[in-house]
């Protein structure tokens, strides 16, 4: 193996698999393997902090090692690696023990990605058009980075319990455990206000409303869709809108001619 065109894929391949490769110096190869695994573990611990806590150091390191063999790094930026980790967890034995793990991983990944998305600005001028008589013909512009996760598990409660420290954590863990026993699913929205990632649980009525706006369904039609639901009374548009603007869930208004 003297050509650099053979050496490079050969070394990469040897680092990525676990078998003995006698053509490479053993100590050197082991050093690169250890470094790769350490980098992978560090990267996933940053991108999936709640999963890291849920699994603990040993199981997390083992999961990272297996995932690395399954989905090697394809670009030089470790922060972009891990998008298929939630699906991989779903198929792994770990989700049999912790069935909510894949959804927690999805939430971790959304949160991680949110920290890297382009900064958005409120479009105040467009929001002034909401006072026009035909405002119902347009739709609200939802923060493009906002993600919605519908889960069979109390993901918001589990998330909160793993994002606080000290005495508060125990109470939140107990609360999350109770919801898990009760099989209480939660739907959450996760988005960024300025530089801070925000997360909160939403009712199914609010979920429908937000999804309508994301699909650019006009406000009048969104109200119509919402009214078909039994729980429509739980969504109060008048109080929701100022709060949604204040928190950058809504960042503007799109009049029909602008679509």
């Amino acid at each position: 193996m003297t050509l650099c065109s053979d050496f490079q894929p050969g070394l990469l391949s040897a680092i990525l698999d676990d078998s003995d490769h006698h053509e490479f110096d053993r100590r050197g190869l082991e050093a690169y393997r250890r470094n790769l695994e350490a980098n992978a573990r560090r990267a996933l611990a940053i991108s999936f902090p709640v999963v890291h806590q849920l699994l603990g150091e040993t199981r997390f390191a083992d999961a990272c090692r297996q995932y690395l063999r399954h989905s090697p790094l394809v670009a030089g930026d470790w922060a972009e690696w891990g998008d298929s980790f939630p699906e991989w967890l779903e198929l792994s034995g770990l989700s049999e023990q912790l069935p909510y793990l894949p959804d927690m991983a999805r939430l971790d990944w959304f949160s991680h990605q949110l920290g890297r998305t382009e900064d958005t600005q409120l479009n105040f001028e467009s929001l002034q058009q909401l006072s026009a008589s035909n405002a119902g013909a347009g739709h609200l512009v939802i923060n493009p980075a906002l993600r919605l996760l519908v889960s069979e598990y109390p993901v918001h409660s589990i998330w909160l319990a793993h994002n606080v420290e000290g005495s508060e954590q125990q109470a939140l863990l107990t609360q999350a455990g109770k919801k898990l026993q009760d099989r209480a699913g939660e739907t959450v929205i996760i988005w960024r206000k300025h530089w801070r990632t925000e997360i909160r649980a939403v009712s199914s009525a609010e979920q429908v409303w937000i999804e309508c706006q994301q699909r650019k369904v006009n406000i009048d039609q969104s109200f119509e869709d919402l009214s078909q639901r039994e729980d429509s009374h739980s969504f109060q548009f008048e109080s929701w809108l100022p709060d949604a603007i204040e928190n950058h869930i809504v960042i503007g208004y799109a009049a029909p001619e602008n679509d």
Partner: protein, 300 residues
């Protein structure tokens, strides 16, 4: 936009890592520049990028890449290069650098990245690959880059040139400059069983033309376990051997921007400032010695 340095002293910088963002911005430091890992700022927005923009408003910033893969036969990832160009446009860095290493290649039918700096053979064929890659990067960036010598944990087959011959030729063919990492020289010397590491470092430095050197890196690392390799983990203070090499480097290369690199087991901010001050004192001493020698050599 980054300031450039106008100091008449050797510019000394610190590698800026996440845990020290607050320290770097809380109070002015006697630091000539900060160096960051480019890939940590490839995001399109968010707090981390915001911090870097704030730092760049106060200090010159050097963008140091770890995964461009300048020595990759598979070439440079266009997406990676786009991200670097975008970051450079945003930060206006004083320096941009990466390594004489490969990172990505095709395994099976899939392009994979090692997430690491893998060694290259020093021969004509690799020289052509690297020259082409460096030229491509410099053309996209519209500026010169620096290429760093590597600490390698195995020796690729097929080398026909020494490392210094290879790097010198690379600088001449591509117009890049060199980033000399003195700890990497020490690590390689120890790992290949060289007895007198200090002499080996000086010999290496003496073989590099002074005009090609644009930056120096200084770091320390964890000593090797018995029978094991020294890993360049940037986890310790700079060793005496590396300081000794640095003094020699300044006498050879002059007032070259110098960086204290510390990436793992990060110490208190003050420890880094102390290391930077030490570098400045050694550089000053080396420059004084150089002036005295020049003075003594003047004809009477």
């Amino acid at each position: 936009m980054s300031r450039t340095w106008f100091s008449d002293r050797t510019p000394v910088g610190i590698g800026l890592r996440h845990v020290h963002y607050h320290d770097a911005l809380a109070a002015p430091a006697d630091i000539d520049f900060f160096e960051v890992h480019s890939e940590n700022f490839f995001a399109r927005g968010g707090a981390t990028l915001g911090v870097l923009e704030e730092v760049a408003g106060r200090y010159p910033v050097s963008l140091h890449g770890t995964s461009l893969g300048l020595g990759s036969v598979a070439g440079i990832s266009p997406r990676h290069l786009d991200s670097l160009v975008q970051l450079a446009d945003r930060i206006s860095p004083a320096l941009i650098s990466d390594h004489a290493a490969f990172g990505q290649g095709v395994v099976g039918e899939q392009l994979v990245h090692a997430g690491d700096l893998l060694p290259i053979a020093f021969n004509e064929s690799m020289l052509q690959v690297m020259t082409e890659n460096v030229l491509q990067v410099q053309e996209r960036l519209g500026r010169q880059i620096l290429v760093e010598n590597l600490s390698a944990y195995l020796e690729p087959p097929g080398s026909t040139l020494t490392e210094t011959e290879f790097l010198t030729e690379l600088a001449e063919r591509s117009g890049c400059r060199l980033l000399v990492d003195i700890n990497n020289l020490a690590v390689n010397a120890v790992n290949t069983g060289i007895e007198n590491v200090a002499v080996s470092i000086k010999q290496w430095l003496d073989q590099i033309p002074a005009t090609h050197v644009g930056e120096i890196h200084l770091a320390g690392c964890t000593p090797a376990q018995p029978g094991g390799l020294v890993i360049d983990d940037h986890s310790q203070k700079v060793s005496d051997t590396v300081w000794d090499g640095y003094h020699h480097a300044i006498t050879r290369f002059g007032q070259v921007p110098t960086l204290i690199e510390w990436d793992t087991q990060l110490p208190e901010w003050q420890v880094l400032l102390n290391e930077a001050n030490k570098a400045r004192r050694i550089a000053e001493k080396a420059c004084n010695a150089l002036s005295e020698n020049s003075f003594q050599e003047q004809p009477v």
